[in-house]
């Protein structure tokens, strides 16, 4: 493949758009995994479950998938609160989160995935808003709305999350939990309550990500598996507790994947992306954007 500037530019732009989807998928995990230290590997499965619900509800009442995801997100907040309450009661308090807690989320992931097969059948589901078939062109560069709208929508959600974490009292408390739960207790704030709330927010973000996902591509019950490796990779590369780091890593991941696919063929894209993560883990475990401990 000879070098071509327009190809490179388009590879980067499409990578950024893809990165927008990865960012919203990873942002919820950046809260639960990065800040609360809860290894929620069921996060992508929650996202796919949300996408299925969006199809079911949005298809029935003819609503835009992204709006529908926003409407459904309180439901996911409650689901998240429920999952965390259970997790806290049976694992965190017993100090079993390392092994048993991980297995718990593994089981939850399995239950969600197979539950979707039983409820909706194994076939793919889709819900295309009308704009999904339009593409904007700026010079040589294409901006398909199918990718652009979910990416912008995701960034909006992440922006709100950022404001919430940095401006509101509860948001600051969440950040404090990530640093030192005991210190919060001294301020007469129950860290469990804060963590429950934060986990609910993380599940809400899974719902938003599910809405974005269904605009980008059709889903099937096992779609979450494609994202597990990617979203964790992004959180780690971003340096765990840093939301902005995770967002930057998401864009970088998307660009690396798409530029590799453009110039070296798509079959090497995942190996390059994950091999890169292995190297990051080996030589810079605090993440590309994290500070050394």
């Amino acid at each position: 493949m000879e070098f071509d500037l327009s190809l490179l530019l388009n590879g980067i732009v499409s990578g950024l758009l893809l990165g927008g989807l990865y960012a919203v998928a990873a942002s919820g995990l950046a809260v639960s995994f990065g800040m609360l230290d809860i290894v929620n590997i069921a996060h992508p499965a929650l996202m796919v479950a949300a996408a299925f619900l969006v199809v079911a509800v949005g298809g029935a009442i003819g609503l835009d998938p992204l709006l529908c995801a926003v409407l459904l997100s309180p439901v996911f907040y409650l689901i998240g609160v429920g999952i965390y309450t259970f997790y806290n009661r049976f694992f965190e308090r017993r100090g079993d989160e390392a092994l048993q807690g991980l297995a718990f989320f593994f089981g939850v992931m399995f239950i969600i995935e197979v539950g979707l097969v039983m409820a909706f059948g194994p076939e793919q589901r889709f819900l295309d808003p009308s704009y999904a078939f339009t593409t904007w062109r700026i010079g040589e560069i294409d901006l398909p709305l199918r990718m652009l709208v979910p990416a912008l929508f995701g960034l909006l959600a992440i922006g709100l999350l950022y404001l919430f974490l940095h401006r509101s009292f509860i948001g600051l408390a969440i950040a404090a939990v990530a640093q030192d739960a005991e210190a919060l207790r001294l301020l007469a704030i129950d860290p469990v309550k804060i963590k429950r709330l934060a986990f609910g927010v993380s599940a809400m973000l899974a719902c938003i990500a599910g809405g974005a996902l269904i605009v980008v591509q059709p889903v099937e019950p096992s779609s979450g598996q494609i994202f597990i490796g990617r979203v964790f990779a992004i959180c780690i590369m971003g340096g765990m507790a840093s939301l902005s780091g995770a967002i930057a890593a998401a864009f970088l991941f998307g660009v690396v994947e798409n530029v590799t696919a453009t110039f070296f063929g798509p079959s090497w894209a995942p190996a390059v992306a994950f091999g890169w993560l292995l190297l990051v883990l080996a030589f810079r475990p605090q993440g590309l954007f994290g500070r050394a401990a």
Partner: protein
Amino acid sequence: MSATTLTDPRGADRIRHLPFWLGAVGVALAVFLALRLIGNEYGYYAGYFVLQYVVLASAWNILGGYAGYVNFGAAGFLAAGAYTAIFVRKAFGFDLIPGILCAAVVTGLLGLGTGYLTLRLRGVYFSIATLCLAVVLQTLVVNWDYVGGSRGAYVIRPMTIPPFASYGEYIFLVMLALAVITVGIARTVEVSRLGRGLQAIRDNERAAEAVGVPTLRLKLMATALCGALMGVAGAPLPYYSGYLNPDAAFSLAFAVNAIAMPLIGGAGTWAGPVIGAVLLASLQQAATVTISSALNLWIVGWILVIFVTIAPRGILGWFGKR
């Protein structure tokens, strides 16, 4: 396996080894004779299915149960073993047994390499790294035409292998022997200094380091051993099914079961994964031929969640042993 061979980890090791091996071989012989008496080929195939998980779960337990490092990439190691067997068969004409030995060497080195790269990190980073390793390995295999690439590889096996009644019996006996050896190794590790060092790492790694436990070296030995045994679990797979493609070799079921089985049986003891594997794999096999729908996978998920919730120390935990 009889529970009477359970040993006190601090007991006199040397004396307890012989009864264990005799007991294990005895149990294995009894299982084999029972199946032979039933005279049913299905018993061998279902038995292989269960035993491969005994090997895989025991291997996972060495690192996951003893040292507390969760390996998400069991399917990656198992597939590496299976593909090593395919490679040496095609390249050098090696048969099953030498194939298993080669698989042990290759996946042992793979485990060592992974450990060297990532074990300086704490817990969950290692888990994510193993997950990534599985993805990278799968991409490599898919793009490697010599071992069939994405099209898969065929292993044409003979209909019978002379001293054995049938091929099913032969492949079952091979897996049975591997299971006995693996469980024996796991038990030896558990009662040895290596196992005690790993347990110290699990309880408090910094403290262990402070009192002079060579943590990195112990962890490397454990990853290499764990990797090698997982590879051994996978090496006979292409001989069992006659055909292997990357999707099957890297199946999520292996990764899930490798974690679920030790936890259900009781992680951290050699008997836990054996109990968990026998129970869960038999249940899966039974559910497959009775319920026969997505429901049986669902049951596995629920059992895992319920078990880790109400019995965090697994079945063995009920008996007050750790």
